[in-house]
Amino acid sequence: MTQGVTIAGKVAIAGIGQTRFGKGLEPSERELACMAIDAAIRDAGIAPGEVDGLASYTLEATPDFELVRDLGLGPLHFFSQVGHGGGAGPGAVGQAAMAVATGQARAAVVWRSRKRSAAASRVWAQTSTVLEDHWKWSRPSGLLRPVDEVAMLAQRYIHEHGAIASALARIAVTLRDYACANPAAQMHGRPITAADYHASRMVADPLRLFDNCLESDGAAALVLLPADRAGKDCVVVEAFAQGLVTGHQSMADFHRPDPLKSSSHVTAAKLWSMTRFTPADVQVAQFYDAFSPLILFSLEAYGFAPSGAAARFVEEGGIGPAGRLPCNTSGGSLSEAYLHGFNLIVEAVRQLRGQASTQVANAGLALVTGCDATPNSALLLRRQA
């Protein structure tokens, strides 16, 4: 049941744009942002000067005023950024959608640009000598990388619910198969098998190389317009939620009675309270997948599998093209590109437009989630005929 006033159906994602994805791309991060935003604006069929709102991740290095100058946007009346890395994407879209729904902005662009594929620029490798933030409690003991932190939760999940290795292999192979159908994916043309997964090197026990997202350069962008401006057949924001469960600290989230009940659980509860739809109505999902166990955790948090049952859901083919819930259908962060999840949102729009490389028949309702291991967010998108 819905609670009071919502943004349901009021805002359309009227334009999408993306650059090439790859390692070591030539253009600068700022130029990549310009290319993706320009493509999204043209896709929406508006003039750059109509854009009066910008939203992005706090991860961005490019100030919004540079993009306004580069692209001829503005004047702006809404500009915001959302924190917590991979938890931010659906939140940035949701905040911009609230601005468009309330008239604070008439046309908003949400964007993500990343040129970080060089190993030396990995965020965890830039850790300072003296830690002031919450990572002071774990990094000095050698728990250094995001994958190490997710491995701790995966190991605990295995202790509580049983083995997940076959399910993780199935996730890696399924997403790679989707990427092989998607010419834009970084791993297009490079299929893998379950045997390849099990033979890949251990990175942080129980997680292997193929449980990790790609290192990518690239950018993607969306244009939000009031739904009544977007034409008859459009993709609208049905619901949006953010969530930060009490006691959660980003990634190294070990200090609550049950860290396996992540912020996704409160995000999901809020999301489903904002719409008449339920998980049973969702036809395609894009779960944040920097590490493959996050898909298992998210399947349970958002109500697609009971607690402890996500591995079986995956092993039975549930996330494949013929499954109950095709997931990460462009290849996701494991096999299309890693833009902290923003390409997942673009793929959800393509599915609802009927333009996906692995198209889910008659997709009318799509879920997109942010990182399960950080304070996060989710979007429910709907095709409006």
Partner: protein, 153 residues
């Protein structure tokens, strides 16, 4: 001690009692007398609104989870990789957990323990040792490595 690792600042808010105890070679955490709850990481006050006071803890814990970290890692840790890191859940309260190295002997390097020796739930004891000059931090000594009788290996 391992040279050039990232180190925790000792000057964060609400932490003085933690560092004071570690400097004595002891472990203490914030406790709320009003609702008898324990808290870590340090915070302003209890979720019940009660005041928090540092009290010594037993140092007894159980292994809550672990991982073995394989390369590539920060250069300072590279000579030790792969190495195991654990999460110890203190007996004082569910959720009162600390990340730390796992040890057989109190002066072991961080990479002596092997995954095959680990069992989630196994008992641990805190060992406060310097991770840098003048910077004490708890590691966790395995105080029983045998499988309990009757449990398959």
């Amino acid at each position: 001690m391992i040279a050039d690792i990232p180190l925790p600042s000792r000057h964060g808010p609400f932490e003085q009692g933690l560092w004071a105890a570690l400097d004595r070679g002891e472990l203490a955490h914030q406790h709320c007398a009003a609702c008898d709850s324990w808290h870590f990481p340090p915070r302003w006050r209890c979720h019940c609104g009660g005041a928090l006071e540092y009290r010594p803890v037993s140092g007894k814990a159980h292994l809550w989870s672990w991982t073995q970290v394989h390369p590539p890692v920060l250069p300072a840790f590279a000579p030790f990789a792969p190495y195991v890191v654990g999460i110890a859940e203190l007996v004082e309260a569910p959720g009162l957990r600390m990340v730390g190295s796992l040890l057989i002997a109190a002066d072991d390097p961080i990479n002596r323990v092997q995954p095959a020796q680990l069992r989630i739930g196994m008992p641990l004891a805190a060992v406060v040792r310097e991770i840098a000059p003048g910077l004490p931090w708890p590691a966790w000594q395995i105080i029983e490595t045998e499988q309990p009788a009757g449990e398959a290996s």
